[in-house]
Amino acid sequence: MLENSVPLGNSANGYFIKTDRFKTTYISYNFYLPIEKEKAAGFALLPFILTTCSKEYPDFSKLNFKLNKLYSASLSASAEKVGDYQLLKIGISVIDDKYALDGEELILKSAKLLNSLVFEPLAENGAFYTTDVEREKRKAIEHIRGEIAEKRLYARRRLIEEMFKDDVYGIPKCGTEEQVAKITPESLFSAWQEMISRAALSVNVISSSLPQNVFDDVKSRLSLIDRSNAITVKTSSPTRPLYAAKRVKEYMDITQGKLVMGFSADIDENEKASAAFTVMCDIFGGGPYSRLFTNVREKQSLCYYCSSSVEKRKGYLIVDSGVEAKNAKKAESEILRQLEIMKNGNFTDFEFESSKISIINALNGYGDHQEAIDAWYTVKSSSKNMISPEDYAIQISKVDRQSVINAAKTVKLHTVFNLCPKEVK
């Protein structure tokens, strides 16, 4: 699927993923910067302020009017953590020209619009405008405060904070409320300058044909910027195992508790080890055939959900579940018992095979989802190996039982976070 990659300058590359499946073209700019405590909040605000106003469209009503006229060209903005890096994404999706009722060149116009939003922000004398900055700060703070309403997300975020207290990875992906409050129009402008000059950049284009000049336009912008200090993405520091697991409890006015358990894991970045880890995590707590689903939920009715996920770059695994307070202890020991079963290799052939076929099935379907293709190549472009989902599916098919057991053996309980209803206090 990856048609070609085009160097765009120091630590910047364009990737064209050719596909005729979609009615739309998707273009994304992906900036990688190391997570730093004092800067994280400012960096995270950039995708949002850049997609609400620009020199050309100083007012977001006018910008949105323009997007409507481009047949609902849709801008996306996000800030995520990928290992020890912040990934700032700004993208646009637009229907192909042949569907426009009035023959407009939708793709070219959208590509140019995105380029101008990233490189020509609305700013003056080294600062963004105060009203725009204050609006985006308010939204960011409300977003951070809003997370508490979603207990599952909140509990996961709190676990990560506790697991990585002395590590940059513990910093929330959009920074803390206090850090957002400190952002000024000047500091945000410096953050933008740092982003365009220092970040590793990948520009992804997913379309049936490469829009004219799309990469050249980025290249000519970058040629005007001093990018001699641009970073390259390196291996992230691993999650260090603890001798004794840490336990944190919090109380809230809720009826159902949340039990979230974090584990350190020793994950080698090479494909083979990574594929074994994917399979291990899936047998443990992936689909409905997994150890956690069938035992903790189905056999013992201890919770409505209980599943595991893995972050390979940082080397950790999380199990999260919604359980009643009186069942929390029982659920925890059952989860740990299931992990021991993984380590001893006592999972069944049915679970092993089901897991592999399910992962392969999902990977082979990636090409049918434009945003999944974008997400896949965004992450892969920052690693050493630009493997396609289909080739990774082949790696998965080669995983054997012993490598799954070996992967499980590196998993160690690190931190347990328990969100409890107040009445059990």
Partner: protein, 425 residues
Amino acid sequence: MEKCVFESEIGESYTLATLPNGLKVYICEKPQYTSAYAVFGTKYGSIDTRFSKNGGKLISVPEGIAHFLEHKLFESEYGDAFSKYAKTGAMANAFTTFDRTCYLFSCSDNFDENLDILLDFVQSPYFTKETVEKEQGIIAQEIKMYDDSPSFRVLFNMLSSMYINHSVKIDIAGTVESIAQIDSNLLYECYETFYNPSNMFICIAGNVDTRQVLKRIEESIKDRGTVAINRESFNEPEYIKQNYVEQKLPVLTPLFCFGYKQKISSPYRRLKSKVCVELLLEIICGEATPLYRRLMDEGLINDDFDFEYFTGRDYAAVIFSGESSNPKRVAEEIKKEIAHIREHGFDKKLFSAVKCASYGDAVRSFNSTEAIALSFTECAVCDYDLFDKLKLLKTVSYDDVLKRTDVFDDSLSVLSVISPLEDTV
């Protein structure tokens, strides 16, 4: 079997086949895709709690039983459907809404085998005292999870203040007390009534062969005789219970749902009405509008602000929702804007822009096999053609849309607020 082929100028087509027993089958071929998405559904949801079969006695069943049945149908006498899917690698799931229950899978391989599993388990009910009791535990956990979800509560608090008799005000999963009354006999009764081919539909999109799929379906659908279902009318009065409701939960920023109950004269809305109301909502407070701008500038809304035309059998309402430090002000501003539009009309340029955007969104939805299959379920329940929306968006006029301000009646509006507890954490 009756067959119709529908085509559109955006290069998509689909077949609608009606079997002699009344089952409707929708198939959209996407040969360039790897995967396929299939849904087997019934016009039976949480609001169907009082009904009679074949002119018999009217019966009342406990709230939440449609959703309970959805959970239970995955089990058969010889193992559950999930373990069968585990062998094929498909991703399988199910959901229950107010007016339908759908069982689905997506896969990039073994489509025929997966379809067989779907057809088999949905047609093979198996309930025992033990399996029903076990499910009561799991669903009770699910209900508690929703009880803790502010976004869920804010909606249902609004609906229960808006509706007097209609079951749409009841949580889809029911209550811990109502599901305790469910037994296997009641489940069989509901199954025999609503899981009759004449009340059901199959919706498929993706890499499939229509002829082969239809043959497979014809061979597998069991003849269950015809069932005449009579759903009791709700006799919903044209007034509301109360215009304001508030609940305190652990949140930091208040959440709101502000809705207008619509007086209706028929069970379902025509597609043209839906399209016009949706355009009108974009004109009132879409991102390119003066009202959106004002609310954002004054710090009254953030990116979570949303609106929808919420309609199904015997109910219709317009709902605005989001987070706000001052929900009452937001509701006031919306009311004022509606009054203004009713009196002065709206900007014709804005009208043409939002029409363009809606057309773009409709084209974009054909990217996703999931979106197509789920739109088919809407076609089956409401008797639409999948391409009607595209056609309507080309012809709908300014006056058509302006007329729809009739859905807003201030005396039928309800504001629901979730406000912070004093000591949230």
